[in-house]
Amino acid sequence: MEFIMPLFACIIVAFGLIKRVPVFDVFLKGAKEGIQLLYSIAPTIMGLVFAVDLLRSSGAIDMLCSFIAPAAEFLGFPKEIVPMVLLRPVSGSGSTALLTSLYSDCGPDSFAGRVASVLAGSSETTFYAIAMYFGCIRVKKIRHTLLAAVIADLTAAVMSVLTVRLFFGY
């Protein structure tokens, strides 16, 4: 699996060479856009890491987890990812901040760390996407969009636990 990324990079660069694209110049242009993107999201990340750090050190997350833990444990859900399931559909950077605090607490290769990784990779900031796409054309009646999207998010949460159990043998 570790070979997928280098292979992918190689295919892209080779395709660029065949199509006679000035690959390195284009790469530099893209990398610059990456820096600009990072520059524009940096304050958001800082603000949210700050908020999540406060929440974590105040003991509020532990309290929330201990409320939901019995139900989560019953369903085979690691209790550490409960806050992430709740925040993920609303805020991408906020759930990234939660993800990093979970990584530093449990480690990225722990059960909870892996489940959180899969969850982060397989769900989106649902509410944000819906607000943006329907907001830009001012459509108010979105019918069953939200229902389908939220159920999809729940599916992703359940599947992230199941797939990690299956692949890593917990």
């Binding site: 699996m1 570790e2 997928i4 892209i12 395709f15 065949i18 694209v21 284009v26 530099l28 242009k29 893209g30 990456g34 820096i35 993107l37 603000g47 949210l48 700050f50 999540v52 750090d53 406060l54 929440l55 050190s57 105040s58 003991g59 509020a60 609303v90 805020s91 990093t100 990584y103 480690g107 990225p108 290769d109 760390g113 892996r114 899969v118 990779g121 397989s122 769900s123 989106e124 796409y133 329907f134 830009c136 054309i137 459509v139 108010k140 009646k141 979105i142 019918r143 969009t145 229902l147 389908a148 999207a149 159920i151 999809a152 998010d153 599916t155 599947m159 199941l162 797939t163 692949f167």
Partner: protein, 204 residues
């Protein structure tokens, strides 16, 4: 929305720490969070810039357009009323293929264009059309071939194999996408959700 969440988190954590007698921890993390967030941003910077550079090559060499062509037959059945050669359908395929490649920033402009074109096809109605529902739902379920940012984060926190979660991510997001599409398409036809204003006008 984030205004309320962010301020809510701060108020709740201060109240909580007073209530639980944790104020010392709180002031400690208040000082440390600044440097830890900068550290996080710097570790993410490397892989993010590298991949936006490589993905730029994919866009400029026309590889994303090739992808869009490959995916268009798969997307056809989801938008049966849409003309294959309409601008709306082309924008949709570009958006979905950019999303698949993890080019969120390239995908969004195509997505917004697609929504505008669908809006015109729907006679500018204030109610969402079937196609809009299916398209937005597809965008909320992220199907991504290479979760690079995620791998960068895992690496930053000392993972032994940052990409080991890639296949579980595919399976999990494919399931979420399937559920989303089945729900969206079947509810499109079911009575309480059916659209009264079905568009007949097709794009030129």
């Amino acid at each position: 929305m984030l205004n309320f969440i962010w301020s809510g988190i701060i108020v709740i954590s201060v109240l909580c720490s007073v209530f639980l007698g944790n104020t010392e921890n709180l002031s400690k993390s208040l000082i440390e969070s600044g440097s830890s967030s900068i550290e996080l941003i710097l570790t993410m910077a490397g892989i993010l810039c590298l991949w936006s550079g490589i993905m730029k090559i994919a866009v400029e060499s026309g590889l994303t357009a090739v992808f869009a062509k490959i995916f268009s037959p798969l997307l056809r059945p989801l938008f049966p009323k849409l003309d294959k050669n309409s601008d709306a359908f082309k924008s949709i395929t570009m958006n979905i293929s950019a999303n698949l490649l993890g080019l969120g920033n390239a995908a969004t402009p195509f997505g917004l264009k697609a929504m505008e074109q669908l809006h015109t096809l729907n006679n500018k109605s204030s109610t969402a059309s079937n196609e809009m529902v299916v398209f937005v739902v597809m965008n909320t379920a992220s199907l991504q071939l290479l979760p690079t940012t995620l791998a960068a984060l895992r690496q930053a926190y000392g993972s032994q194999a940052p990409f080991e979660i890639i296949v579980p991510v595919w399976i999990s997001s494919a399931c979420a996408l399937a559920v989303a599409l089945i729900l969206a398409c079947s509810l499109n036809c079911s009575k309480p959700y059916r659209n009264t204003l079905i568009n007949q006008k097709k794009a030129s």
